[in-house]
């Protein structure tokens, strides 16, 4: 939404004439797309458009899935930039699986009082895939809320980067911001870099962040094995368990099934 940015190629206006229950698919892979959700309207959208801009007007609600199956040979760079008006709500999911490098730039401006965002990422990386997730949540207005949960499963020589920045402006009192990045490394060569960053200029706020990097636990694997379940199946079930709480943040059952089906 910065001035001087070029005009999006395609604009999607979501108003009350759309049925709230149906999933809207926006699949233009290249170029820029703009989604504008009109006041008070709720929508569920799946979009793998590379450069996506979202405007949520007052009281608008959006559940957005960004699925990226990285089976092409080219590296991919995508972005999502969001502008939220008063009392709007966004729940977004970035789900990537694959073996080529990937960069996702997400920025959310909580411009209106009471705006809320839940930003979630699931990455399943294999081969020598590098995945960069950069998030910026800008709390501009008071009583805004952000909640981020990013999880990576790192296989082979995969490398996951997470850089999450939370900015709380002077006017944004009573901000509530939470960020968590968890990583599960399944191979000796897998790598993870995680970097939280908080910049807080208001004095009455709640902000917290956390990061964790782990491997499959020997005692857990042994427990599975004593029940007749081999190490490979045990690892599959533990990975499924690791990503489960992210999937459970998706309210729409069809959307959840689509995201879960990718992994």
């Amino acid at each position: 939404m910065t001035e001087g940015s070029s005009v999006p190629q395609r604009c999607w206006q979501i108003d009350s004439s759309r049925k709230g229950a149906e999933i809207i698919r926006i699949t233009d892979a290249d170029g820029k797309s703009l989604i504008r959700v009109k006041p008070g309207v709720s929508a569920v959208i799946i979009s793998s458009a590379s450069f996506l801009e979202v405007i949520l007007e007052e009281g608008a609600r959006l559940e957005l899935l960004r699925p990226f199956l990285l089976d092409q040979t080219l590296e991919r760079e995508v972005s999502l930039s969001v502008h939220q008006a008063k009392d709007s709500s966004l729940t977004a999911f970035m789900v990537t699986k694959g073996s080529i490098s990937f960069k996702d730039n997400v920025s959310v401006v909580l411009a209106g009082e009471g705006a809320e965002v839940s930003l979630n990422g699931l990455h399943d990386l294999s081969n020598a895939c590098e995945a960069h997730s950069l998030t910026l949540i800008d709390h501009v207005a008071p009583s805004t809320k952000s909640d981020q949960l990013y999880k990576s499963v790192v296989r082979d020589r995969g490398h996951s980067f997470f850089h999450g920045k939370i900015m709380v402006r002077r006017e944004a009192q009573l901000t509530n911001a939470y960020q968590l990045n968890k990583n599960l490394i399944l191979s000796p060569e897998g790598r993870v870099d995680t970097k939280p960053q908080l910049e807080i200029f208001a004095d009455d706020v709640k902000c917290s962040h956390g990061a964790a990097i782990g491997q499959l636990d020997d005692d857990q694997l042994f427990y599975f094995q004593t029940r007749g379940i081999g190490r490979e199946e045990a690892a599959r079930m533990l990975v499924k368990g690791f990503v489960k709480d992210v999937l459970l943040k998706i309210n729409d059952p069809l959307l959840r099934a689509e995201a879960g089906g990718m992994l």
Binding site: Y223, R227, I229
Partner: protein
């Protein structure tokens, strides 16, 4: 069914078992008692194949298809599929893995190994609820992640539930009574007793005689410094309860 010969075993370079001999026949319940650090838990881990517990020498022979086979080279999951079960002293939590899915995966992998029919989720749900009733477990545990937010007592019941699902030929119960109040212990013991039969055997490892009032052993062993120093009938457990281990250690 199980024949352990002159077993020496170590964990992290410390030798814990030092020449242990034990022979268990089908239909028997053996109790193993002993002071802290005598090697009780190590024995359970070596029988079931925990990778950190290394057998330095000796044999652990287990009857598979009518033959006695040294199982020390087998993976823990292979041993489990052949009918060896461990009820853990400290059951492990598996976040995000639903109890029902875990139990079904376990049951089906054993069935697959023996060429038996596997169960679909609906049939398995009925099967598991029956077993839970016996252990007076609340249905809500079916959907919860394995052992996550279970009380100490519920974790122990869950171990016996898994034992009931797999119906193992040899069950090793490692301090199943620890952390259980008397009422829970009675329920758990009842669940265990229902699984006793002529075809299977149990090794009950315990600190206290208390549990043996409810799970009556045929043979009682006292383990001390990595060896069995005394074997007797149920009266041995009562004597230990009464007099402690000192009289055994000094003699």
């Amino acid at each position: 069914m199980l024949n352990i010969k002159d077993l020496y075993a170590s964990v992290e370079g410390n030798q814990i078992l030092k020449g242990l001999n034990l022979s268990v026949k089908a239909g028997q319940v053996h109790a193993i008692m002993g002071p802290n650090g005598s090697g009780k838990s190590t024995l359970s881990k070596v029988i079931t194949g925990h990778p950190q517990y290394v057998a330095d020498s000796g044999l652990v022979d287990f009857e598979i298809n009518g033959q006695m086979v040294n199982i020390l080279g087998m993976e823990p999951d292979q041993r489990a599929r052949e009918g060896i079960f461990l009820a853990f002293q400290y059951p492990v939590e598996l976040p995000g893995v639903p109890t029902s899915e875990f139990l079904r995966a376990s049951y089906n992998s054993v069935c697959r190994h023996h060429g038996l029919e596997q169960m679909d989720p609906i049939d398995f749900d009925g099967f598991i609820r029956e077993k839970m009733k016996v252990l007076e477990m609340d249905d809500k545990y079916i959907d919860r992640a394995v052992n996550v937010d279970f009380s100490g007592g519920e974790k122990k019941r869950n171990e016996i539930l898994q034992m009931a699902v797999l119906n193992p030929r040899l069950a090793v119960l490692d301090e199943t009574d620890s952390g259980l109040d008397v009422d829970s212990m009675k329920i758990v013991a009842h669940g265990v007793n229902l699984l006793r039969s002529k075809r299977n055997a149990m090794i009950v490892i315990t600190h206290y005689q208390r549990l043996l009032n409810y799970i009556k052993p045929d043979i009682v062993h006292v383990l001390y410094q990595g060896r069995i120093i005394k074997t007797g009938g149920p009266e041995l457990a009562l004597k230990v309860e009464d007099q402690g281990y000192d009289w055994l250690i000094k003699s």
